[in-house]
């Protein structure tokens, strides 16, 4: 996996904080990678050109076609190539896997770098982390397979074990370093960076194992024809990653597009859904939610207001209180989301949560399937409820200005145990304090003032 970053912000004089953060990663990574490459050069025998240049070319091609499998995370099937090369180098006489793999990784990261756009962070950091991962994997292969003089079929099990170990090391080091880089550079903005990490992780290790075994098969059979078919297998690996990214992308983009539609109807709710999803994930992380749970909460938050698309815009935008009929119509949006998404099987757990987001902790409130009178709704529904209420208070409405974060948290705490789940409110408060970011208008501390401010724009605040 490789990093893909935005262009750094340049300002005269002092380095921009984001540049500083990038330097803190790029310099040590690059140095360590360089040390690994140079020591491999002195310690190990150099590989023959045919053992690394063709593989380096394939490696680069696969890296160029890497797909975005998760936010800002790019993966490719290049691990297959480097493992094939490693196993071939380890069992050939007079060469070592370590140097061959380090060379391939170095060549790969150098070529993929997008120098035209003057990105410096990405190639430096990727060079370091790829060379380091490749070196460690190579050492493992050399230790396990270096003494095998002529590879026989009965050695295949040994090769399988050795390549699994090496692939595991490669993927582990690689993901730790990339994770560290993302945490440092993007900070808390990128919550729970990769929800599908486990699936992707095991997929990569499996690809490494396949790559290693194919290398062994090539050495044993000694048939160039096999090598051609192996290149076909690399393509299959690429296709499987592509399929993975498609699965994730297509639904998200469809839902997001429609959420935008909903919000375009009303300037006051613009961005609301994305913010609720953000808050909900913050709470989820604080409560120790893992990959799929987080993903479920995020999706539920993204669809929680879908039913509003079918509610007359007048009501959504209406200033002042709604009468009973209007209120009933407004309430219907919790059911409508069920009706609209009834046929989308994979969204059903999220629909349950979304239709319960107006359900209260003490069993009051309203909602569809996700709401049962007198019962506490699911924890996920409580999370979406808190996130929704907080964003509703801290953003402007047609009838009032945005309230301050302090006031909103106070309200959440006031109704904690009745309308809101106390644990969720606590977790949210903690998470908000951690980010240090403030939401809402700084000084608007009561509802009445917020309403008056909206009605009389000439009123200004001092404080």
């Amino acid at each position: 996996m490789t990093l893909n970053s935005d262009k750094p912000v340049r300002r005269r004089g002092r380095l921009h904080p984001s540049v500083q953060r990038k330097l803190r990663i790029a310099v040590p990574y690059y140095t360590l990678g360089l040390i690994a490459l140079v020591s491999a050069f002195f310690i190990f025998d150099p590989p023959e050109w045919r053992l690394w240049i063709p593989f380096a070319v394939l490696y680069v091609i696969l890296e160029v076609f890497s797909v975005e499998v998760n936010d800002r995370l790019f993966q490719s099937s290049s691990i297959m190539v480097i493992m094939t090369a490693g196993v071939v180098a380890a069992v050939e006489q007079g060469s070592d896997a370590t140097f061959a793999m380090a060379l391939i990784a170095a060549a790969g990261s150098a070529v993929i770098a997008d120098f035209k756009e003057r990105r410096w962070f990405q190639p430096m950091a990727n060079f370091g982390q790829l060379v380091l991962s490749a070196t460690v994997a190579g050492v493992l292969l050399d230790l396990n397979l270096g003494q095998v003089s002529s590879l026989q079929t009965r050695d295949l099990i040994r090769v399988a074990v050795a390549s699994s170990l090496a692939a595991l090391a490669y993927v582990t080091i690689n993901s730790i370093l990339v994770r560290k880089a993302v945490k440092t550079v993007y900070g808390n903005e990128n919550l729970q960076p990769w929800s599908q990490m486990n699936v992707l992780f095991s997929g990569q290790v499996l690809m490494g194992l396949i790559g290693g075994l194919l290398g062994a098969a090539y050495v044993i059979t000694d048939r160039p024809a096999v090598l051609v078919l192996i290149v076909g297998v690399y393509g299959i690996g690429h296709m499987s990653l592509y399929a993975f990214s498609q699965l994730r992308e297509s639904h998200l983009s469809a839902i997001r597009g429609f959420v935008k539609t909903l919000e375009a109807k009303d300037m006051y709710t613009r961005g609301h859904t994305e913010r609720v999803a953000y808050f909900a994930q913050m709470i989820g992380e604080e409560l120790g939610f893992t990959g799929t749970q987080q993903e479920t909460v995020k999706w539920a938050a993204l669809i929680h207001d879908l039913g509003k698309l079918a509610v007359p815009t007048e009501l959504i935008r209406k200033k002042g209180r709604l009468d009973d009929n209007e209120y009933a119509e407004m309430k219907a949006h919790a059911h409508l989301v069920e009706e609209i998404l009834a046929e989308v099987d994979f969204l059903q757990p999220m629909v349950d949560i979304a239709s319960g987001h107006h359900s209260h902790y003490d069993g009051n409130g309203y909602g569809g399937r996700g709401h049962t009178e007198g019962q506490t709704p699911s924890l996920e529904a409580c999370i979406v409820a808190v996130a929704d209420a907080f964003d509703a208070m801290t953003s402007a409405r047609s009838y009032r200005m945005a309230l301050s974060q302090q006031y909103a948290l106070g309200e959440l705490r006031k109704h904690s145990g009745a309308q809101f789940h106390p644990d969720v409110v606590d977790a949210f408060e903690k998470a908000l304090n951690k980010t240090g970011r403030r939401w809402g208008a700084p000084h608007v501390n009561d509802e009445e003032m917020a309403r008056r401010l909206a009605e009389e724009p000439e009123l200004t605040l001092r404080g």
């Binding site: 079929t153 295949l156 499996l206 690809m207 194992l209 396949i210 075994l213 194919l214 098969a217 044993i220 059979t221 000694d222 048939r223 160039p224 024809a225 096999v226 051609v228 078919l229 192996i230 076909g232 297998v233 393509g235 299959i236 690996g237 296709m239 499987s240 592509y242 399929a243 993975f244 498609q246 699965l247 992308e249 297509s250 639904h251 983009s253 469809a254 839902i255 597009g257 429609f258 935008k260 539609t261 375009a264 109807k265 698309l309 079918a310 509610v311 007359p312 815009t313 007048e314 935008r317 409508l336 009706e339 609209i340 998404l341 009834a342 046929e343 989308v344 099987d345 994979f346 969204l347």
Partner: protein, 414 residues
């Protein structure tokens, strides 16, 4: 096959397992491979053919059997050439067993016969071409690059036979034109190649290391398998999502119930009938589902006050679609869905794509039948009246053929 006499289809279908089995047994008597190995290969082919990998838009089923079939000539080849008879025997016995197994699972004759005949033809072409090339120029397998040449040529032969047989056999649903089928094959080439390549990998390795090849080839195979399964799921669930979202105007009472769904199915049938490729048919489906999505805006108070035209709805729909990354490519088609095919005194408007024209006809037809309560024949007559000006005459003609084929229209008598 629907256009063929069902009795003939059933009779021919019953003949299929008998003919292939007889052929298989006859080939077995002339094979140099042991009877046990032949039976193992045939059984492997039969079992693998029951494992579905993917079904393409055009209804082509891909199974693990393709990988096994690709491996068989490799496995039955020695240093001095291929056991051609053995290969054919495995294909014949294998497909005979597949027929029995699939028939016992309750599959219809008009599905079984064309699919299995086509498969058998493809396999035989592949096996024969591979063997012939190995007998001739590439008699000794040195293990070099040139070993793959017989495989590559045989693969091309396989594909050609498949395309020809598909076009000949699946005349059934009239909407599927031959042009569409040929494009569908190219469209599914990645699935086909993924399966066949892992099969060939197994074969190449088997020559040298025997059954050790199985675990090595099985791992990449499982990757390919899961990738195609996932592609399949993605398509299905994505379409589910879009269909669900398309119902928003209907759920909120701003459009007539089921209009988007019906328009889409008519439009897709017309597109197939006219011979558009699979990806264009897909675009027609998305455009059809989304063509009235702009009606959600009819909630807006100032729109209710000011009134609106069809063109406004097309514009709003296009604006909404343009926001969705995967749908944006049909935004223009939806934008022009109400534009007349040709303005008086002008040439055809190149801005109006074939997709827009199809949607225009399909939506108008559904509106006339379900909102204005016209009979299908009356609706079609109304469309005919507007053909060449409002509606593309070719699309209207295609709709007429479609409706006639379905028996909805009483054919016009002189």
């Amino acid at each position: 096959m629907a256009s063929w006499n069902p009795r003939i289809v059933t009779a021919t279908s019953w003949l299929f397992p008998i003919v292939t089995a007889v052929l298989g047994v006859y080939a077995a008597t002339r094979a140099s491979t042991t009877a046990f190995a032949l039976l193992v290969a045939a059984a492997g082919l039969a079992i693998a053919s029951l494992i579905d990998v993917a079904t393409s838009n055009s209804g082509n089923r891909f199974t693990t059997g393709l990988a096994v079939a690709a491996a068989i000539p490799f496995v039955f080849s020695g240093v001095d050439g291929v056991d051609t008879a053995g290969t054919l025997c495995a294909y014949g016995l294998g497909l005979s067993a597949v027929w029995v197994l699939r028939f016992s699972r309750g599959e219809e004759h008009d599905v079984l016969l064309p699919t299995l005949t086509r498969r058998f033809g493809g396999y035989v072409a592949y096996g024969l071409v591979y063997s012939a090339m190995r007998v001739g120029v590439f008699s000794d397998l040195s293990g070099g690059w040139e070993d793959l040449l017989p495989f590559a040529v045989a693969l091309v032969a396989w594909l050609i036979v498949e395309v020809v047989l598909r076009a000949l056999l699946i005349l059934g649903p009239r909407e599927l034109s031959r042009n569409y089928l040929a494009r569908a094959i190219l469209h599914d080439l990645n699935v086909f190649m993924g399966l066949v390549l892992t099969g060939a990998l197994f074969g190449e390795l088997f020559i040298e290391i025997g059954w050790w090849a199985a675990p090595i080839a099985l791992l990449p195979y499982s990757f390919a398998h899961s990738a195609f399964k996932r592609f399949q799921e993605t398509k299905v669930t994505y379409k589910q999502t879009i269909r669900a979202l398309a119902r928003i105007p209907e759920v909120s009472g701003l459009a007539i119930d089921g209009h988007a769904d019906r328009t889409t199915s008519i439009a897709a049938s017309i597109a197939k009938e006219m011979g558009l490729g699979p990806s264009q048919v897909e675009d027609v489906e998305y455009a059809g589902l989304m063509h009235d999505i702009g009606r959600v805006s009819l909630n807006e108070p100032n729109i209710i006050r000011m009134g609106y035209t069809d063109d406004d709805i097309a514009r709003w729909s296009a604006e909404i679609i343009a926001e969705s990354p995967y749908l944006e490519r049909v935004a223009d088609d939806v934008r022009h869905q109400y534009d007349p095919f040709r303005k008086p005194g002008e040439q055809d408007d190149p801005d109006i794509s074939i997709i827009s024209r199809i949607i225009k006809v399909a939506a108008a037809y559904d509106w006339k039948v379900h909102q204005e309560s016209l009979s299908p024949l009356q609706a079609l007559e109304a469309l005919h009246a507007g053909a060449a000006y409002d509606y593309d005459p070719e699309v209207v003609a295609s709709l007429r053929r479609l409706l006639e084929g379905r028996g909805v229209l009483m054919p016009v008598r002189a």
